[in-house]
Symmetry: C2
Subunit: 857 residues, 2 copies
């Protein structure tokens, strides 16, 4: 029975990683395809489970089988465990079915005792190495098996180092190491109450059980709880022959990638150190050499490495990150895994591997994380920029930008008009600052979260942005900022990196986004796989141009409110709002009409005959008015007061505006029709305009609005303009089927739908309880970034399903932040939506994510 | 074939009102049970449909049958149509299957012509009467059949009146009436191009067709559209012998009720006029006499009336409103219908009729409008109070109250403590005014709607309240109010009637609510029929006492926020909120603990072992802080600023508070446990306390909160306290099944659920677009008063159904405004809820409405 608990690396049959553990499974597979792996065997997860079932013991039968397998290892390596002539040393490592890096214990050099250490010294010809190995065993065994406090050994070590004025144990003399080993053993005896075990079998047995014990250790438990890994899986244990890279000049150790993880180029990439163990590479005391140098120093081992790494990449069908050791000229591979890579490398490797016939297009699409694509589109702060990071905030919109500090939107605009680059730096931003956003290269705010106004608008424009910057204080009176007390005047040159959130004073060299065409190839494949259309949120000609450039199939959300913040419009808009009768309002709207017509005209020209879905005015009117304290007259102050609301998010906005002041929508519809006509007159092509109504909750609203809109369209000669609506209220989700009577299409406004479904005001929630909620794990994701599938998603399902089961064929879209979020896109695909709409710079993300969603089903 | 279109009143068989029309059906039934109805017959709705199908004509066969039926009428009445000796006159009236009062046409006195009028003058011995009848026919026929503009006749009439200096046609001389008739005929000829038809058959045929035409008249169409009556129903036409109450002293006309419609007492109640027609009673020129006076004047007719009214009540099984005419001593009943009555009468009549064996208990329950019950519980302003109404506002909470004007809560409290009655008069109210509400007899505000703070709190307390009072201006600096410019100082005695919205200066006599025990009987029956439990929203011992008094089965919602506004608490609450560390907060909470314990102790004592569901603190903390401008220090102002939110309704409130500041809920739970223990020690009875958590949206919130609450309870010896939650977010509705893991019961908070589902902030919506929405018919009901069944109701269904289909047996309640609204209660019953909770003064409404809901299914 117990033999089923033990598997030689060479013969695991069809046993899977649930039994062998991930690490053991990998080592066995490598062994079996002819990679030189140090021999060893696996104690399975079943043994672990049995160990716990039997209250922390394993049967004599088991240990008999275990010792028998050690004997197999002895004969395979032609060494003897605990032997007095070239002794066999083994490592004992955990290996759970699901990787839990660093969570469980490892013991090396098992098999050393007072006799074997002398034999090792003799066989290796390296007494320093032998005692260094022994003192390591005593310490690791003491800590892991006997739970001796690390400090007990540290104190002894510090004394030894001081004695020889050494910085690390490696610098100690042979004599010093011998003494240190003796002292470690003394510490062991003192702490445990009995001496360090000289029986190598006792050593290895206790180590196996210690690893099993570590499965229920505090750290491992917490990790599993956090990652959702079941406690019942248990861990396997790998018992493997030790190899040493520190046995002199003909030994060494290294790490390599089968392709360049930074660029993706197909070349062996990595480093190695002669006469060193793995941890020496990490310690950074000696500088490793490029792995290609091995060709000169260890030509045979290097040729083996080329051969074996190629085999491993072919076998695993992905770029590999490989650890190896050369022991006295002989190459051993210790580990292989899929390598981490930059976004650029991910794209190139995926595309190259398809061309090499290694993977399919579908696999290539699944290999790239859509969220990483943003990085490919913007200038980057290189890793080694060599300058001080003076502050760090939230990376709210990726990419790096350089410019002079401008403390308000007007200054930003003025300097930009002179051709200067500026960074808009504000305590926080508001819709009033919109011209500053347009003028600036990037935005930095002291307050606000990842979905604050600044963050959302900057991402929408594809401009780098940092929000919630710790230590930053913006003094608008003194016209300077201070960062942790250091003052920088307005006009100082500053660099922000919206990817990492870093703020730098001065101008480092930035790296241009490089994209050797593979991204287009990959996105082309993605386009052929996805069902979801990808549209853009765009309200300016520049946005529209970017949208087309990144592959949008049209504009899914053209907001019209930002159009009224320009210097030439805002006063007219304010006159319109402050009007206390229809006539004055109509007059102001008459003046806005040509400007609005021009807005639409420019956008239509960019889009050709691709659809442009225009949402009529949505926000509460008071957003267009100055703060009450800045009102020019008592009359205006009174009107501002009148328009102010307790909960503006749930107040007089969206189509409610359009029903109470029909003149506003009337003007907008006229502008759409006039702009369409103008484009048609010039180009012969009718733009594909569609009108979308915001915040509709009742069919009666939609019927009335539709009547109003259609009446204006009927006065003109434009071809049929579809009239659709946003679904951004829970009520609208449950009455969606009824809405088909009056709407030509639907678009989920998931920002507002999230606010109302969860009862979270975005700004308020992020500034109050959401921090605590995330900390305490009450919320796992920010629901304004990744759609709340069980709540908001359920309502979306209800809406779509009710419309479909009613037999209606309606187009459903999703616009808002979630339209560019991969996890949300996966849901939208599954829910049966027809398109997503997101900011232009997120279009590539959405294209790839939509393809992945289609392939995942 | 055509005979099927005509039904004699005496023989309609089993034909229903869909064919006979409502009026005809009633006349036929009366005829058939022996009530003296003037003879006549019905042209059915099928004839009307055929008329339209045939493009506005009816076949010769039809008219032959029609004329034959007229002949039957002639023989029955022993008169001759168009005859020169005692001529038969008929009326032609519409009668649709569904009543459309005043929407269609009537023509009287048909059959008069130049010969017949002389015959009528001779047979009646009243030439004045005969020509008055003839001139009426000419005008009615002209207007209805020939569509002559009313003004054409009016001009002629005015000339005639001026000629004799008469105020109305009745005052004209015989000669004058003859001339007027001649002139009307001349006008007719001029307008129509041919003279007034002398053939009585032509008259009556044209009149029947004119009534059919009026079915598709503009007014009738609009009415049907509004009421949702199908266009296809068609109308019937009633042809009935004319009787006249104006044929001298032995004739008359009157209206009576079979019971007193004001008190419900069983007595004939009504009025009559000797020698008069129906319209003379309405005109009000002569004062009618009590119907009982008929016993003296027309003893035979009076005895007949007693007999027939009794028969009609028995037959219709409800109190009847009856029109009758006495023609030369002979009684004719012209119409009967169920009579309108006051709430008090409705209750008494329903209960009496059960005792008389006339109706069942179920029917009695269905006969009373629950909404009317409120009027029975409060002092009333009598109809004839004889004082000036100086202003009118919205009747926000019914009942009348008298008191001295108090312009703020402090003054109200001071005067009340001296034993004076006060009316709190404010521009609008806020939670700060709560002690003023408690002190005042009633509340009057210049602003606010039917669900403003003042309205909600006043209804909750059962205190009369008027909001949105037009013309009222409250000058807090000058310490006076002005009503349409007239100034009244603080301290002026004022009366408000929250039922009608009337404001009176001074003190009229009020009428105490009288309830002779019938209400208790009726509610007792209701209690035995309903499935929904009725609980109360109550947060004070006074509320709790009222709740019991009106029959609540427990407290379904004990809010805890109002408890912190008292003079002794608010400063401590503020200290707690302003605390910048846990220690200071804990200290302030420690001081609040005994006060809060005492609150619960007093309420528990009132409730015995009935359940008390306590909701832990819900509102945003800044509601407890003064306005920023009133902050005592810069520090406090800063904290107020910090706590202010853009959309507080969707911000840091409800259980979010309880998770971020666990100390607050901890204190509240301790208070509940301590108060329970104290009551138990004193009485041996454990109160049935339950803890309810507000604004829960995520199961993770509920798990954490439950853990926190249970930990405090576990430290004490109280018996199990159920821990439940509000469902007041759309998300919570769609994840309700998951919530059963951590909640013991659910209560729908329909106020907040309405706000989030519709995206309507109550205050903002009512002050901005809701007025326009109601005006334009976009909203039919205020969704904060009557539940939005298709939206909010759908989400409630989703929640309840998912929990039930998951196999969980959970208690569901509804609290908030809707818990006391009959239409909403009907929905809650149908949705399968277990209880509703409403303000104490609405408990009787809810008990009755719940019974009606149960009986309606």
């Amino acid at each position: 029975m117990t033999t089923e608990f033990i598997f030689d690396f060479r013969s695991t049959g069809s046993t899977g990683s649930d039994v062998l553990g991930g690490k053991g499974f990998g080592l066995a597979k490598m062994t079996q395809i002819g990679i030189p792996v140090p021999p060893g065997f696996i104690v399975s997860t079943d043994a672990c489970k049995t160990y716990y079932e039997q209250g922390g013991t394993l049967s004599d039968d088991f240990w008999e089988a275990f010792d028998l397998q050690l004997a197999v290892l002895e004969s395979e390596t032609e060494k003897q465990f605990g032997g007095s002539d070239d002794p066999l040393l083994v490592s004992v490592r955990s290996g759970a079915p699901i990787s839990m890096p660093g969570m469980m214990d490892t013991i090396l050099n098992i098999g050393l005792n007072d006799d074997a250490v002398e034999a090792l010294a003799a066989s290796s010809g390296n007494r320093h190495f032998a005692f260094d190995s022994y003192r390591r065993l005593v310490q690791m065994y003491g800590e892991v098996v006997e739970k001796i406090d690390k400090h007990a050994f540290d104190k002894v070590l510090q004394l030894a180092l001081r004695g020889e004025n050494a910085a690390s144990p490696i610098e100690l003399s042979e004599r010093g190491l011998e003494e240190l080993t003796a002292n470690f053993k003394r510490t062991f005896t003192k702490e445990v109450g009995k001496p360090f075990p000289q029986d190598p079998y006792e050593q290895v047995h206790r180590c196996v059980m210690a690893v099993f014990e570590s499965w229920h250790g505090k750290r491992a438990q917490a990790y599993r709880e956090n990652e959702g890994i079941p406690n019942t899986l248990g861990t396997a244990v790998n018992v493997q022959t030790m190899v040493f890279g520190n046995l002199g000049e003909n030994s060494g150790t290294g790490v390599c990638f089968t392709r360049n993880p930074s660029t993706g180029r197909k070349e062996l990439y990595g480093e190695f150190l002669q006469s060193a163990q793995g941890e020496d590479v990490v310690a950074g005391i000696r500088t490793p050499e490029p792995v290609t140098e091995m060709a000169r120093i260890f030509p045979t081992a290097y040729n083996d490495l080329l051969k074996h790494t190629e085999a491993l990449e072919q076998y695993n069908r992905d770029m590999q990150d490989i650890e190896f050791t050369i022991q006295q000229g002989e190459l051993f591979v210790l580990q292989t895994r899929n390598g981490k890579r930059t976004a650029q490398a991910a794209v190139k490797i995926a595309v190259d591997m398809v061309e090499e016939g290694l993977i399919s297009e579908d696999e290539a699409i699944m290999r790239v994380d859509p969220a990483d694509l943003t990085h490919l589109l913007l200038p980057q702060l290189p890793e080694n920029h060599g300058m001080d990071i003076v502050a760090t905030g939230l990376g709210a919109s990726p990419g790096a930008a350089v410019g002079f500090i401008a403390l308000d939107a007007d200054i930003a605009e003025q300097r930009a008009q002179k051709g200067e680059h500026v960074i808009l730096v504000r305590p926080e931003t508001s819709p009033d600052d919109i011209h500053g956003f347009i003028a600036a290269q990037g935005i930095l705010t002291a307050k606000g979260g990842l979905t604050s106004h600044a963050a959302v608008v900057a991402r929408g424009m594809g401009k780098p942005c940092i929000t919630g910057c710790e230590g930053l204080d913006v003094d608008l009176d003194a016209r300077h900022i201070s960062i942790f007390g250091v003052i920088y005047d307005e006009g100082t040159l500053i660099t922000i990196d919206g990817t990492s959130g870093s703020v730098i004073i001065g101008e480092p060299d930035l790296v241009e986004a490089s994209n050797e065409g593979e991204l287009d190839v990959l996105l082309g494949w993605a386009d052929s796989k996805r069902r979801l259309k990808v549209m853009a949120n765009a309200d300016t000609p520049v946005d529209a141009r970017n949208a087309k450039r990144f592959g949008a199939e049209g504009i899914g959300l053209c907001r019209t409110e930002h159009m009224f913040f320009g210097e030439d419009r805002l006063p007219k808009m304010q006159t319109m709002i402050l009007a206390n009768n229809v006539e004055i309002r109509a007059e102001a709207l008459e003046e806005l009409l040509p400007i609005q017509t021009e807005d639409f005209y420019e956008i239509f020209k960019e889009l050709g005959d691709s659809p442009v879905i225009i949402r009529l005015l949505d926000p509460p009117l008071h957003e267009f008015l100055p703060d009450k304290s800045e009102a020019a007259s008592v009359e205006i102050a009174r009107r501002i007061e009148e328009l102010s609301e307790t909960n503006p998010m749930l107040g007089m906005r969206g189509c409610r505006l359009g029903l109470v002041y029909p003149e506003i929508y009337e003007m907008q519809v006229r502008a759409i029709a006039d702009a369409s006509t103008k484009v048609h007159e010039e180009s012969g092509v009718w733009p594909h305009a569609q009108i979308m109504l915001p915040m509709v909750g009742f069919i009666s609203e939609m019927i009335q609005l539709r009547k109003n809109v259609q009446a204006i369209l009927d006065e003109r000669t434009v071809p049929d303009v579809p009239i659709g609506m946003m679904i951004e209220l829970p009520r609208t989700c449950v009455v969606a089927e009824e809405m088909t009577q009056a709407a030509d299409f639907f678009s989920f406004g998931t920002n507002d739908l999230t606010q109302t479904t969860l009862g979270f005001s975005r700004d308020d929630a992020e500034n109050t309880f959401m921090g605590k909620y995330t900390e305490d794990g009450i919320l796992l994701d920010n629901p304004f970034e990744t759609l709340d599938v069980s709540g908001v998603g359920k309502l979306i399902n209800i809406a779509v399903d009710s419309v479909e089961s009613g037999g209606h064929h309606m187009s459903f879209g999703a616009c808002g932040e979630h339209g560019g979020d991969p996890a949300s896109i996966e849901f939208f695909h599954a829910a049966g939506l027809d398109y997503v709409s997101c900011s232009p710079f997120r279009i590539p993300i959405a294209r790839l994510a939509a393809a992945q969603a289609a392939l995942s089903v």
